[in-house]
């Protein structure tokens, strides 16, 4: 596919007219007995060629303009600093309540709204990122594959404050997120951001699959834990006597599991929007690596340029026409003589 395109192809047949100026001249011809009467003059020869070229240029530019010359939309490869990020978002119904575990009212926003707002800012700040979005609740949901189209990413993030579902299946969500890194994302710049307000027990088999995936595709793992007031935190240890099992302390055990994966891992525990914002800023600063991303340059019409070229060439030809003189303009003496 070439870079230039045409709206209509049939006017291009008229390009044959471009040969006309080399066959005919805009000036009226003065017959001369011989070329030898004109002394050789390089400037005149250049002007002669120039007039023909101008005529051809005017015709060709007009035809190209009529054909609707344009530059096609193009995908340009650019280098920037950013990362290939998979956002894995919790869509469980608890995300719809506020950090204080209440229904959102006018004053306090829900966790999902806060996450949406802050993640939208995050994505907007980082134009060089390639982002994939996935969500999970009862089952994992791929939303946007790894892409550099930020409108799609923004729309996907904007959808996370829809009312969620009941369960939280972190394990299969993570498995999906690992699978969303494509070959185009270089290994050094892969990051997985898990946004959730709770955790769940990960099935033993899913755990094995995740360990495999982590060994195969090493990524940097960020867990943004939106801690609801009164719920257990990541670092809460069970009091003595209580069994330390994932069923009662799922957050603590998910943290332990992440640490055991052998990946660069950070957990952020946020109790409010401000802390979420700080965590996201930190992720923003950490994920600054050289990446390759593609930017789409939209189609650009070039017919106005063609018309300008044609107008300019025609104006120059008009100037030449106005300068036109002829050799055999009748002399006054001859007229007088034939009248007598």
């Amino acid at each position: 596919m070439s870079a230039l395109g045409f709206d209509h192809l049939w006017p291009l047949l008229l390009l044959a007219l471009g040969a006309l100026p080399f066959l005919a001249s805009p000036l009226r011809l003065s017959p001369a007995p011989s070329d030898d009467v004109v002394p050789p003059d390089p400037l005149s020869a250049a002007i002669g060629v120039g007039l023909s070229v101008l005529g051809a240029l005017a015709l060709i530019a007009l035809v190209l303009g009529l054909a609707g010359l344009h530059r096609r939309d193009q995908v340009v490869e650019r280098r920037g600093t950013g990362a290939n990020i998979v956002l894995l978002l919790d869509r469980s119904s608890s995300m719809d309540s506020t950090f204080a575990n209440r229904s959102p009212d006018g004053k306090e926003e829900s966790k999902s709204v806060a996450a949406r707002r802050l993640l939208t800012d995050f994505a907007a700040r980082r134009p060089a990122d390639r982002v994939a979005v996935a969500a999970f609740s009862t089952s994992p949901m791929p939303i946007v594959p790894m892409t550099d189209r930020h409108e799609a990413v923004r729309a996907a993030i904007a959808a996370i404050d829809r009312p969620g579902l009941a369960h939280t299946d972190v394990g299969r969500g993570l498995a999906l997120a690992f699978s969303m890194f494509d070959d185009a994302s270089s290994e050094s710049s892969r990051a997985l951001v898990l946004v959730s307000d709770g955790a769940a027990v990960i099935d033993r088999r899913v755990q094995d699959a995740l360990r495999d995936a982590a060994a195969r595709d090493p990524v940097r793992l960020y867990w943004l834990f939106l801690r609801t007031q009164g719920s257990k935190g990541i670092y809460d240890k069970p009091p003595p006597g209580e069994p330390d099992v994932p069923q009662t302390y799922p957050e603590r055990h998910l943290d332990i599991f992440f640490k055991s994966l052998g990946l660069p891992y950070r957990a952020f525990e946020a109790r409010g929007a401000a802390e979420v914002s700080a965590a996201i800023k930190e992720i923003d600063q950490l994920e600054q690596r050289p990446t390759t991303y593609f930017e789409t340059v939209p189609r650009q019409d070039l017919d106005w340029l063609c018309y300008w070229v044609a107008a300019l060439a025609s104006a120059l030809l008009l100037g030449a026409k106005l300068l036109e003189r002829r050799l055999d303009e009748p002399a006054a003496g001859r007229d007088l003589r034939s009248a007598s």
Binding site: A32, E324, D328
Partner: protein
Amino acid sequence: MTRTAGGGERADLPYRLFGRARGVAPGIHRALGAGLNGAFLRHGSLLDAPDARRIDVRASITDPFGGVKVRRFENRARIDVFVALDLSGSMAFGRAENEDPVADFCAAVAHAALRSQDRFGMIAAGPRPRADLALRATRRAGLPDEIWRKVAQDAGEGRGVAGLLDMLDELPQRRSLVFVVSDFLLPEPDIEELLGRLWRHDVAPIVVRSSAIETRLPRFGLVETRDLETGRRRTVLMRRSLREAWLAHARERRASLDRLFRRHGRPAFDLVDRFDPDAFADHLLSGGV
């Protein structure tokens, strides 16, 4: 002076053949040999010319050898006047249907030749021989108008004078006066050949010129010229420096032509824009000097 077809003026022209004419038909040109009447030439012996009516008594008495002297008179003969007309494409320049200096000239020469008891003939050709325009030496009445019409109708076309060179063989062997009418915008070797093959005759070159391409040039502007012979177009930006170069070029060409003509006998007459019989008569009388 008469006005005839085309409005051209025709007058008697004082042309002369360089040297003495040959031939027996009576005319007005000095010829070889001595005759019985006319202008006195010399004395001769009665034995050479046994004509008692021409005995010069005084010369016979004063002759120390005692011979009888007879007056001999100059022979006068007519000559053939030819026009060799170049009808290549370049000759179409500066000639209109009713304003044709070349036709005027040819008709004027024909008229003058008839008036001078000479015969007039013509050959005309461009790149191809033109048998229809060839005319044997003749004294037919009405010749000038016929010549005028024929020449005025034929503007000339094609490139080069190869046909004219071929037709030079049609000229008579006897020494004639040949007016070579051309613009001489030819390669110098062609002109040399043309004049060289006319060695037998008295050649008077007539250079057809036009002030439109020599002096009446526009001062400034774009001119696109078309070569009448090759059809090649050339754009010229006329300006002061080029105009001067153009005029110098024209003068230089005329000067080199003049050198060439003088090598072959006579200086040329310039037929500029229109035919002026008085100027031509002056030229003939003065020998072009």
